[in-house]
């Protein structure tokens, strides 16, 4: 048996994107070793970005693949996984853009950073498609362990060390719990590890109502909730976010989280259909807690990174609404929101990195009067924060609108109302920062802003930062208004995924396909209506807060 026929037999074509990332990773490591640290810093990041973009292109060709199951059921490259892998790869690419200057300024090796980041990306991408318990666990650990390393990357900074240690400890605990849950599943199903066959085996063994299954479910959810930082498994988030290098935080809050959601959908939908009521109940609890606690505690934060940490907890709560609904619109709104979230959250982090690089602080009060000194940064940060708050016509507004609309259609009224209320709360703390930057008079300027040096874009690593900033700004401003392609992508990814269609009942599939365009039309109509209305009333609310 030669390699080619083996590859065909294993259907190895589905992991071409991951292979590209892996090759990029190896190239970076090897070339760094050969050329040396100083020289390689000039171009390794660009190799990495090119590799990640190539991987996204490869994913594009995976979209319509006929047989997504590969490696004898280990990996499932269906449309849903393609979207999630794309999100993770893009978030990694953006993270590299913003990290170049940061890592150079912190005086550590860039190539190693990129290597670890690419490893984490690889883990996340595999996690999005893993269809078997062992593969899930291995890729989860790949992602986690690289994340711990990234967290502690600035090793001379004690806060970074502390964060890494905490992350490791809590991560290990939750990982252990997850593993225990997985082993329970293995036992209950009589030795099955493939997600798709587990539930059938459990049902045939007559254990559908057993408490063991519920325990397995809760344990698995604990592992997932740790990754997506859902309350009450969120405790590590603020500490880790505050201590870690900011680009790492950006990746953790977007890429790692997206991987967590991919795992959540796949595991819960395929392995736990027997206890779907229970898992929806548990996830609802987590969603409510996340929305409330994340948004409420964010109000009291004084550090920008901690603010974004809590806000990302709240955002995860919003995304979970889509997961709980169990409808086409629910899943696709979730995917849509994650795509939008990618732009706006990474944009916000880019701005924070830039500000920290210029002033060395991330206290919110230090942003006072920034508008006078750096209008571009102020604009970009304001747009991203307002988008996170869901102010029309920015991308975040449309994301939230779709989520809440899907929730309302599915009859989850209390969740949607809670989501709306907590969104309003979130607008307060986002706008507080915007107000701090824009409204303050020159004499109220903070010391950091007073000493704000003029921005020199020619320094090494500044240009990519600028590119990242501007593209995030453009995407956040326009993705909402021109949301149709993203929208179609999100809808198609759900409609083309057999796993979800199976879970939603096969008969639904053709109807859903017909409905999709009408839904999108309706929504875009509503969007234009609401955006005009809200746009008018916006200044008032800004003044009040």
């Amino acid at each position: 048996m030669d390699f080619a026929s083996l590859a065909v037999q294993l259907n190895a074509g589905t992991i071409v994107p991951e292979a590209i990332v892996l090759i990029t990773l190896m190239t970076v490591v090897v070339s760094d070793l050969i050329i040396g640290r100083q020289a390689s810093a000039q171009w390794t990041p660009y190799i990495a970005i090119a590799g990640l973009l190539a991987s996204v292109v490869a994913l594009f060709y995976q979209w319509d693949v006929a047989n997504p199951i590969s490696f004898i059921g280990e990996f499932n490259g269906d449309a849903l996984s393609v979207v999630f892998r794309g999100i993770i790869a893009l978030s990694a690419a953006t993270t590299i853009l913003m990290s170049i200057r940061y890592v150079i300024q912190s005086g550590t090796s860039l190539a190693e950073f990129i290597t670890i980041l690419l490893t984490a990306t690889l883990g996340g991408m595999f996690l999005s498609g893993s269809d078997e318990l062992v593969a899930v666990y291995v890729s989860l650990e790949t992602l986690s362990i690289s994340s711990y390393l990234l967290t502690g990357y600035t090793k001379r900074d004690p806060r970074s060390n502390e964060a890494a240690l905490k992350y490791l400890l809590i991560g290990a605990s939750s990982s252990a719990i997850f593993l225990y849950g997985a082993s329970l599943l293995y036992g209950l199903s009589g030795g099955e590890t493939r997600l798709s066959t587990i539930s059938a085996s459990i049902a045939s063994a007559g254990l559908a109502q057993s408490i063991g299954l519920v325990i397995a479910l809760v344990f698995a959810i604990a592992g997932i909730a740790f990754k997506i930082a859902a309350v009450p498994f969120h405790q590590w988030t603020p500490d880790v976010y505050e201590g870690s290098p900011t680009p790492v935080v950006a990746f953790l809050s977007v890429g790692s989280k997206a991987a967590g959601f991919a795992l959540a959908i796949r595991l819960l939908v395929t392995a736990f259909p027997l206890v779907s009521e229970q898992w929806q109940l548990v996830m609802t609890t987590l969603a409510i807690l996340s929305m409330v606690l994340g948004n409420v505690v964010a109000l009291a934060q004084t550090s920008m990174k901690r603010l974004l940490a809590y806000s990302s907890i709240g955002q995860a709560g919003f995304v979970m609404i889509g997961l709980i609904l169990g409808t086409d619109a629910g899943y696709s709104s979730m995917v849509f929101y994650l795509m939008v979230y990618l732009f706006m959250n990474l944009g916000a982090f880019t701005c924070i990195i830039l500000f920290t690089l210029r002033t060395g602080t991330d206290q919110i009060s230090e942003y006072a009067g920034l508008y006078q000194k750096d209008p571009l940064l102020t604009l970009a940060l304001s747009v991203c924060l307002l988008s996170l708050g869901g102010i029309p016509p920015l991308a975040g507004f449309f994301g939230k609108l779709y989520l809440f609309w899907a929730g309302w259609q599915a009859g989850a009224y209390p969740l949607v109302i809670l989501g709306l209320v907590t969104s309003v709360i979130s607008i307060y703390y986002y706008i507080r920062v915007v107000k701090m930057m824009v409204v303050k008079e020159p004499q109220e300027m903070s010391d950091s802003v007073k000493n704000y040096p003029p921005t020199d874009w020619t320094l090494p690593g500044m240009r990519p930062l600028q590119v990242g900033l501007v593209s995030a700004l453009i995407a956040t401003s326009l993705a909402g208004i021109f949301s149709n392609p993203l929208f179609t992508l999100a809808n198609d990814s759900v409609l083309k995924t057999p796993m979800l269609q199976q879970a939603l009942g096969r008969s639904k599939a053709p109807i859903a396909k017909q409905m999709a365009p009408t839904i999108s039309q309706q929504l875009s109509l509503q969007i234009t209506e609401v955006s005009t209305k809200k746009a008018v009333s916006l200044p008032k609310s800004m003044v009040h807060s």
């Binding site: 400890l169 809590i170 605990s173 604990a222 405790q235 590590w236 898992w279």
Partner: protein, 693 residues
Amino acid sequence: MEFIYQYAWLIPVLPLAGAMLVGLGLITFGKDINRLRSVNSVFIVSLIGAAMTFAFGLFWSQLQGHAPYTRSFEWAAAGDFHLTMGYVIDPLSSLMLVIVTTVALLVMIYTDGYMAHDPGYVRFYAYLSLFSSSMLGLVISPNLVQVYIFWELVGMCSYLLIGFWYDRKAAADACQKAFVTNRVGDFGLLLGILGLYWATRSFDFGMIGERLQDLVATGSISGFLAALFAILVFLGPVAKSAQFPLHVWLPDAMEGPTPISALIHAATMVAAGVFLIARMFPVFEGIPAAMSVIAWTGAFTAFLGATIAITQNDIKKGLAYSTMSQLGYMVMAMGVGAYSAGLFHLMTHAYFKAMLFLGSGSVIHGMESVVGHDPAYAQDMRMMGGLRKYMPMTAITFLIGTLAISGIPPFAGFWSKDEILSSAFAANPLLWLIGYGTAGVTAFYMFRMYFSTFEGKFRGTDANVKQTIRNEQLQNMGLAFGPGAMDPRELTMDAPLGETVDPGQDEHHAHEPHESPLTMTLPLLILAIPSTLIGLVGTPFANYFEAFIHAPGEVVQLASEAGQETLSEFYVMAGSSVGISLIGISLAVLMYLSRKLDPGAIAAKIPFFYRLSKNKWYFDEFYDQFFVQGSRRLARQVLEVDSKVVDGVVNLAGLVTLLTGEGLKYLENGRAQFYALIIFVAVLGLVIFSGVS
């Protein structure tokens, strides 16, 4: 001739273009444009002149029996809903075009003299032109939607022009009052339009009437609903034509410059209400309830206006109440089905009332040179008297107008008023009686006005009279101080009455009024011609007017062919109404010319009626108490609810979230063991939670 029909849309567009050009010029190069006074005024006057020429051409063609011409295009369509715009030229609209353009042209010429010293001269012309355009657009509208659009536009122009001297508080208040009062009526009109559309699926006047008849006949909608819609539509004219109970804005609107009072608040815009009733006649005709509401509203307004006008000392206010009263006649005529009579009176009234107003403006202009630029003195008839010596042309034309409005043959008002009265008699003798009595009162107050202004001796330099007026004013102000809302007038209490406080200014004043310049007297003289003669087109001997303008579907024959019977009836009616007018005039002569009777003594004998009339039947006070104060109270209570309850809830929510945030923050104590503990506790809790449920 066909081409003038095709280009008839130019009539409203020409003045609009003028207004736009001058307006844009004012916005961009304010100072320079303001200096080019004569260029601007000549430009705008020539545009309206061109429009007038067009209008006469159309009128002539209609008179020759040209078929009505309608042109429309689709403006908006959604599904099976089509909204068309366009214009219609029929006898009614061609007549209205002629009235509006001629009065507008004369008023614009007059304005040159009247506003010569005003810094807002150019702006005034721009507004005038805009108003003319809107009014012309209104009269050629082929459907209710377009009527509504132009209806609002003329309302807006009226608002702008009443408040033209916006730095005078009285003017600013008056324009707001006019606007708000008109909103009430316009709201009714809009509801009515929508209701009628809902019922008949049409905005076209004729079609609405036809379909409404069918619907009521087949029982698809109840007669009550049809009457309700008709009355709602009628609310529009009630506000615009200053009918009871929405008449209160018209007298206050006299705060605007006098040319405006003549053009908008006497001749054209206020007549728009009557015009709309005429347009909607096919609808109203079939609904007896609506017709009687219209008739009685008109009759009551006619009486109300006349009784108030008796005691007014302000010359313009007096004329305003007489306008209201005359509009009441027209509305009453519409209500009793006398379509042509109402429109005939509209036409004659437009000319003689415009002339009277312009005459009053001329008087005020003359008085201002003696008493200063203060409306309180310059417009008060107690300061006037004997002006005929100084202003002969104004006096003669004013006398003609007075005779016309009093219904003395052969002046214009006689013929039209008499036609209305005889139609009213045929419909309901009680209505006739009200109209008849009002005619007598009208003659009395108009001659009172004429005598106290132009006859006797000049009182403009009499310090006693001045002091009386001043005291009265202060008293009025004191009365106006209500409790509650802050009144900015309190601040000006110490230095009231505007420019007269400057003592140095008085010394420059002449001791005698002077005749107005030619630009002002010429329009008066020109208007005197139709005021005298135009009634002759509608005599009962040969009613050319009715032959030209009659309700749709009505067949009219010239009265001369109708036989002797109606003519003898006419003599009885005409004789009696001339009789009562003469009685009114004689009373006025006795009281104000020869001073045989003392008006003060009569007023003292019937104090209740005197005060009722003097205080305008207490409508303003009643509305103030009931609507203004009432809605303020309501607003204040809602504000209380908002600031206490709603804000409280919002603040509480904010406080709770902030406190929760601050509190929960301490769950993050940085200890990893504690975090792990929370994870395990959470897992345990969730297992129990999901296992139990």
